[in-house]
């Protein structure tokens, strides 16, 4: 028994040592595998607008995970706008955000067209799924709602990008996200709409050690950096999917 105990203690020590080294690492870059930054589906209207030199109106519809604190400049839509302008300097892009806090996909889907009125967006980015997962909405109803929402937006002459829930390891024992991820993927495939896989990307960052999404004690800094990276990734995703980048970076 004793050698086993010693071995165990040694292992434990090694693990904690490794932990410490990791924590001291400088904040890593937030690289994303290129497969997560492109889609088989396309964004024809965005591509057309960019090529014709028309301004690009983007509408982000999301729940509270599309925000950080109260300052909209910290959240990913603002970072995406900045990154888009970086990538496509000639482009006049304007991004507006409509936060639909604690509304299920079904509740949002009905009002999507109304949100689009007046703004006439070329692209609507719909971030959803979190509220439905928290309320354990029937996945079938969820899928129907997403489908209806997407169809309505396409009818209103907009390209659509779907964004799925965040990877949130701390609440994994409380919120069951997988059925909602699956159903969003299913609708995206069915409707030929690009899906920005926020869950997989954040999971990747956590695995690679770019961000420690587990830890309990983080101020707003971590959230801001994650959103910064998400915004950049989303911009890259849009550029790649619309095939409009002069140089397809990242």
């Amino acid at each position: 028994m004793r050698p086993g105990l010693i071995l165990g203690l040694a292992l434990l020590a090694a693990v904690f040592a490794a932990q410490k080294v990791r924590a001291e690492d400088a904040p890593a870059s937030c690289d994303v595998p290129s497969s997560l930054l492109e889609s088989e589906s396309s964004l024809p209207r965005v591509a057309e607008a960019v090529k014709a030199g028309r301004p690009l109106n983007i509408l982000v519809v999301g729940s509270r995970s599309s925000t950080v604190g109260s300052d909209a400049a910290n959240a990913y839509p603002a970072h995406m706008e900045a990154a888009l302008k970086d990538k496509l300097p000639q482009l006049a892009a304007s991004v507006s955000v409509e936060i639909q806090a604690s509304k299920t996909a079904e509740e949002v889907a009905g009002g999507l067209v109304k949100l689009m009125e007046g703004k006439r967006p070329t692209l609507v980015i719909w971030q959803t799924g979190t509220v439905d997962a928290m309320r354990s909405i029937d996945p079938d109803d969820f899928r129907t709602a997403i489908n209806e929402g997407v169809v309505a937006m396409q009818k209103a002459e907009a390209d659509v990008v779907l964004i799925n829930p965040q990877y949130s390891p701390r609440t994994e024992t409380m919120i069951s996200v997988p059925p909602y991820l699956d159903n969003m993927r299913a609708v995206a495939q069915q409707r030929d709409v690009p899906l920005f896989d926020r869950f997989a990307i954040m999971h990747q960052w956590n695995e690679q050690g770019d961000f420690d999404l587990f830890s309990a004690h983080h101020g707003p800094e971590l959230a801001k950096r994650v959103h910064d990276c998400l915004g950049k990734a989303l911009a890259a995703f849009i550029v790649n999917t619309a095939h409009v980048g002069s140089a397809q970076q990242n």
């Binding site: 292992l11 434990l12 693990v15 904690f16 490794a18 932990q19 990791r22 924590a23 497969s35 997560l36 088989e40 729940s63 509270r64 995970s65 950080v68 604190g69 604690s102 979190t130 509220v131 928290m134 309320r135 354990s136 909405i137 029937d138 996945p139 079938d140 899928r143 965040q166 949130s168 390891p169 701390r170 609440t171 994994e172 024992t173 409380m174 919120i175 069951s176 059925p179 699956d182 159903n183 993927r185 299913a186 495939q189 069915q190 999971h203 956590n206 695995e207 420690d212 999404l213 587990f214 830890s215 309990a216 004690h217 983080h218 101020g219 707003p220 971590l222 959230a223 994650v226 959103h227």
Partner: protein
């Protein structure tokens, strides 16, 4: 004894030769033929033990070890194995009780078992509540302010606890036991029907399954939503297990040993493997026709998708073909930990759920690195093994010193069943 032990049918029937021998040795039996208690069917223990380990690993956040779980290589996962074997062993044990002692006594024993599972569930819920409350009051991360809204139920502990006792409020990862309780409660009826006509029972079960899909039947849960494992769909697997235990497996032996079955299963497993790979390597998606994709997705776990059920059947068919019940490896020391865990499945299942909670907690506090992650998984499995060993030892000692009870061993065989 050996010729009797041969009758211990299972999904195990290994080959045509064996089945032929059985057909000779078994005289024309009544509608259900109960296997006589002989040697313990170690393969059941082995695979139930395996299922318990896999469920534990799947309940932890994904890590390197997750790649060893079968859900990454096909549609079905450990839950299917667990429910099937539970149905099998439950029918095996309580079916015998029903034949020997009658419907009432058997029902009483089944209810007692269901009560044990219920108590275990409530116990786990208490631990869960403690963990959640801790997280709710210590977690500060603006990134997840939306997700933390899930803690709102802590504002109404009265309602939450009552709903939990009614099995309507169930945290994630605590869905299997409520399913199990409902299945056990329906076991007396299933067994009574099986005694009458096993095939009709199975057909009725399939009918209920089909109706569940057709009419979208489900059980609601609190505060909203539905049961993550729909008992009306999952009962098919449980009843199928029971049907196999009560002679169905033996009658299927010819089908199981035919080369056509083997090929169909193999092709299907390869297809499932390929489809699963496309989830992880999106580039492979190009070779999967869109039409197939649209027909196939989503593969529903709640209602036990037909694709999942078929995947389990294929896996089981291949397993019983290549792993005969007298395989010497079953007695080897290497598989002993798995078999031990499988023999005490209710205890080890609960322990696994608890360890998964504890593991989440340790990972959260310790930073969640890959090494710590592996260590947590490994420790969890070692603890499961250790406790299973301890229970075995205790039962052994207690059996020796206590008065001999006639069929006491049966409940042990039922394990989680």
């Amino acid at each position: 004894m050996s010729s009797i032990a041969d009758q211990v049918a299972g999904p195990q029937v290994a080959g045509a030769a064996e089945s032929a021998r059985e057909q000779v040795s078994v005289p024309k039996a009544p509608a259900i033929s109960l296997p006589v208690i002989g040697e313990r069917e170690l393969r059941l223990d082995l695979f139930r033990g395996l299922a318990l380990w896999l469920i534990f690993i799947d309940h932890l956040p994904p890590s390197l070890l997750t790649w060893f779980t079968i859900r990454n290589y096909g549609f079905s996962d450990a839950t299917e194995i667990f429910i099937f074997i539970s149905g099998y062993t439950a029918a095996f044990v309580y079916g015998r009780a029903m034949l020997e002692n009658g419907f009432l006594v058997a029902t009483a024993r089944i209810l007692r078992r269901a009560w044990q599972i219920y108590v275990a569930h409530v116990f786990l819920f208490t631990i869960f509540l403690a963990e959640i409350s801790y997280v709710a009051f210590s977690f500060e991360n603006p990134l997840y302010s939306e997700e933390m809204g899930i803690m709102d139920f802590l504002k109404h502990p009265d309602v939450t606890i009552v709903q939990a006792l009614l099995l309507r409020f169930r945290p994630v990862n605590m869905d299997v036991l409520p399913l199990y309780i409902v299945l056990m409660l329906s076991l007396p009826i299933i067994l009574a029907l099986m005694r009458w006509k096993p095939d009709v029972t199975l057909a009725l079960s399939a009918l209920l399954y089909a109706a569940t899909w057709q009419f979208d039947l489900y059980l609601t849960s609190y505060p909203n939503g539905y049961w993550a494992f729909n008992p009306m769909a999952w009962q098919l697997l449980f009843v199928f297990g029971a049907w196999c235990a009560l002679g169905g497996a033996r009658r299927m032996s010819r089908i199981l040993s035919s080369p056509i079955t083997l090929w169909v299963c193999a092709v299907y497993l390869v297809f499932a493997f390929y489809v699963t790979m496309t989830w992880y390597v999106p580039q492979m998606n190009h070779w999967l026709p869109k039409r197939v994709e649209q027909w196939m997705y989503p593969i529903d776990k709640t209602d036990l998708d037909v694709l999942r059920f078929a995947h389990f059947l294929a896996l089981a068919a291949i397993t019983v073909r290549f792993l005969p019940k007298d395989w010497p490896g079953l007695k080897s020391a290497w598989l002993k930990p798995l078999i031990l865990c499988g023999q005490h499945s209710l205890e080890i299942f609960c322990l696994g759920v608890f360890l998964a909670f504890a593991g989440h907690f340790v990972l959260a506090e310790g930073g969640g690195g890959a090494a710590l992650h592996a260590l947590v998984s490994l420790c969890g499995i070692l603890i499961m093994w250790g406790v299973a060993w301890l229970i075995s030892w205790y039962k052994h000692v207690a059996d020796k010193s206590g008065p001999r009870k006639g069929v006491a061993g049966n409940a042990d065989l039922a394990g989680g069943g």
